[in-house]
Every structure is written in structure tokens, then in C-alpha cells.
Subunit: 179 residues, 2 copies
DNA sequence: GGTTCTGGTTAACGGTGTTAGCCAGGAACT
DNA sequence: AGTTCCTGGCTAACACCGTTAACCAGAACC
């Protein structure tokens, strides 16, 4: 694996520590726990000190979004390597990662992407498997992505009936967009 | 002690006024403007007085969710009546309503539905056109719903590239789930 | 040795949802 | 009529939020 610009690599150690604390808080205690004071507590510092490392809370969240995109891209690339050309496998990886990291997924997904603050090409890399490897045209790719995102977000929000067979819905979706 | 609120029908006039103010705030100024103090201001009252009519902010939001479900159901039913059997027409109505009421749509969509506080059958009514009229099986119905929701939510979050041909993506989706 | 930069601190501001406690007015019962 | 009780306002306050201002200890640099 060549040297990729890993998210947060150019951050100072302290800044990385802040992002790490933010991620732990988000993943272990949920979105409401992601506050500047809680982050500061976790690294043994007072909240205003965080502003010596990030201009505002949004900047911390942007780092979390970058982590999400990067890890999602890695998960999709792995799935593709394991089962080339299978939309179903790609969907499974997508769902698997999102459900394993619900806080991160929702944080990185529900507001506009600050594209300029993100490592160049990261967004494309996350989306690439759908297009490059599967050969979906641009509209089908978008539709398939919307389907996957919709499935995940409805599942995370608890909107499907209890006991609904989501595996089957995913399979139907994969079939619908294949060929 | 009345049973459960039926989309505001059994709310007191004051409570309906509160919900109305909440809706206006949400739709005209966005989700950040939906605060108890702003609602109270709008009807010429102080914030704590709202708690004489609703137990908490969530209860007000639940009424807004009920409104969303009801109006969405009406929009879908109208589309179904105008173009029976057309998934594309249904999708168009779905997208049209959501994009016309983005604040309401997101509010009613991104957290778990408090099903017990909602009028009985409302959720089913909103989902019915997909199943009853189109004859989609349960899994295909769910997949189509996820697609529509994903398309809307990504559009509202500004996640599609500028100038992307979303009409075409919707068309592809409609075709994919039709038979 | 003096200066400057770095990264901490405390105090505070205006905002949030929410609770406690008080009180005026009307309804209802005796 | 007198008393009580309920309704729906009010002010004050609490704990929390993101954020800013002002200050200061220590290390680094000339």
C-alpha cells in the first residue's frame, strides 16, 4: 500500500489526541456526548484550550468526517478485492461499516461535506468502487449509493419494523441495480 | 383525559397554536430556529409557559412528525390517483413534497418514530401507496422506500455534485424497482 | 538577559432545555 | 356570597452548550 495521505497526519500530536478523544466519545456515548467540554475532560484539559488547536468544533468534526471517508473507502476496497464485481458484497461492506460506526456515519453524512477542508481525492476514493470496478454509469451509481445510504440511515434510525428482513431488502436492491 | 393526539385534532387551541408557530419557525428559518424561546416569542408568551401545554420539546416535535406523515400520505395518494401504478410518479411526489418542506422532512425522518404517540395507522397510510397500489412485495417496497429516502436526504444535505442530473438518477431508480 | 511564541488557565457571555415557585383570574362547589 | 381549586401565565434559576477575552508559566531564540 503506497503512502496515502492519512486523515489527520499533518495534525500535531495534541490535535490528533483531541480527534481521538472526540471519536471515542462519539462512538461510545453517542452524538450528544460530543461536546467540547467532554473532549477536553477526556484529555485532562479545560475546554478553551481546545481552541489553541482547532478554530471551532466544526473543524474537529471535519477530521472525523475524513476518518469516516477513509475507513469506508478501505472497507469497500477490501470487499471489492475479496469479491470483484459483486455489488452485493460492496453493499454488505457498506452496511457493515456503517452499522459498526453509527455515530461516525451519521456525523459524516447528514451535513454538507466541507469539501475544501478534506484531503484531496478522498471523496472520490470512497465512491470509486461503485463506478470504477462495477462499471456503473454515473446515474446508476448515484441511485445505488442513495439506496445504500437510505437503507443504512433508516436502519440506524430504527425506522424499519422490528424483525423486518433487511438482508432480503438489500439483496433486492443489489439485484435491481445489477445489470 | 383524551387518548392520543391525532395530528393535532385533539389538541387545545393553544397547543395547536404552539405547533403552528413551531412549524413556521422550522420551515422559514430552519432547524436551528426551532427553540422553545423562539416558539414562545412568536405567540407572545414566555418559554416556560409552553410546558403547561407540552411535557417537553420532543412532544412538540412529535406533532410535527405527525403533520409530515399526514401531508406526505396525502401527496402520495394524490399522485397515485393521478397516475395509477406509476412508481415514477410516486417518486416524483415524494421528492417534491420533501424538497418543498426540508426542515419538516428531516425532523420527521432522522430520529426513531415514537410510534405510540402517533395516530394509529398513520405510518401505514404514508407507506401504503408503495405496497397496496403498486403491488410491490414487502422487500421491494422497503428497498424502493430506502432509495427514495436516500435520494432526498442526500439532495437536502447537498451531497450530490453541483449540476448532477438527479432527475435521471430518480428515473434509473424507478426503472430498477419496477418489476 | 530580554523577547516572543506556545499552550495552558479562569471568568464570562449569550444561548439552550427545563424546573420551581408564585400568582391572577375564572369555575365550581357549598 | 364565600371558599376552594384549577388553569395558564410569570420570574428566577439551574446545568449545560460553544466560544471569547485576558492572563500567565515556561521554553525557545537572539
Amino acid at each position: 500500500m503506497p503512502t496515502e495521505p492519512v486523515a489527520g497526519l499533518q495534525l500535531s500530536p495534541r490535535a490528533r489526541q483531541i480527534v481521538g478523544a472526540a471519536r471515542e466519545l462519539l462512538e461510545k456515548e453517542g452524538e450528544d456526548a460530543l461536546t467540547m467540554r467532554r473532549i477536553a475532560d477526556r484529555i485532562g484539559v479545560k475546554a478553551p484550550s481546545l481552541y489553541k488547536h482547532f478554530p471551532d468544533k466544526t473543524a474537529v468534526e471535519v477530521e472525523l468526517m475524513a476518518i469516516l471517508l477513509e475507513e469506508m473507502a478501505a472497507a469497500l476496497e477490501a470487499a471489492e478485492a475479496a469479491a470483484p464485481g459483486s455489488l452485493e458484497a460492496l453493499f454488505e461492506a457498506y452496511r457493515g461499516y456503517a452499522v459498526a460506526h453509527p455515530g461516525l456515519y451519521r456525523l459524516g453524512t447528514q451535513k454538507p461535506l466541507p469539501r475544501e477542508s478534506l484531503p484531496a481525492g478522498l471523496e472520490e476514493r470512497a465512491a470509486a468502487p461503485l463506478f470504477r470496478e462495477l462499471g456503473l454509469d454515473e446515474h446508476t451509481g448515484r441511485a445505488a449509493w442513495a439506496f445504500a445510504h437510505g437503507m443504512v440511515v433508516l436502519e440506524l434510525a430504527g425506522r424499519f419494523p422490528d424483525g423486518a428482513d433487511l438482508d432480503e431488502a438489500w439483496r433486492v436492491g443489489a439485484a435491481a441495480f445489477t445489470r
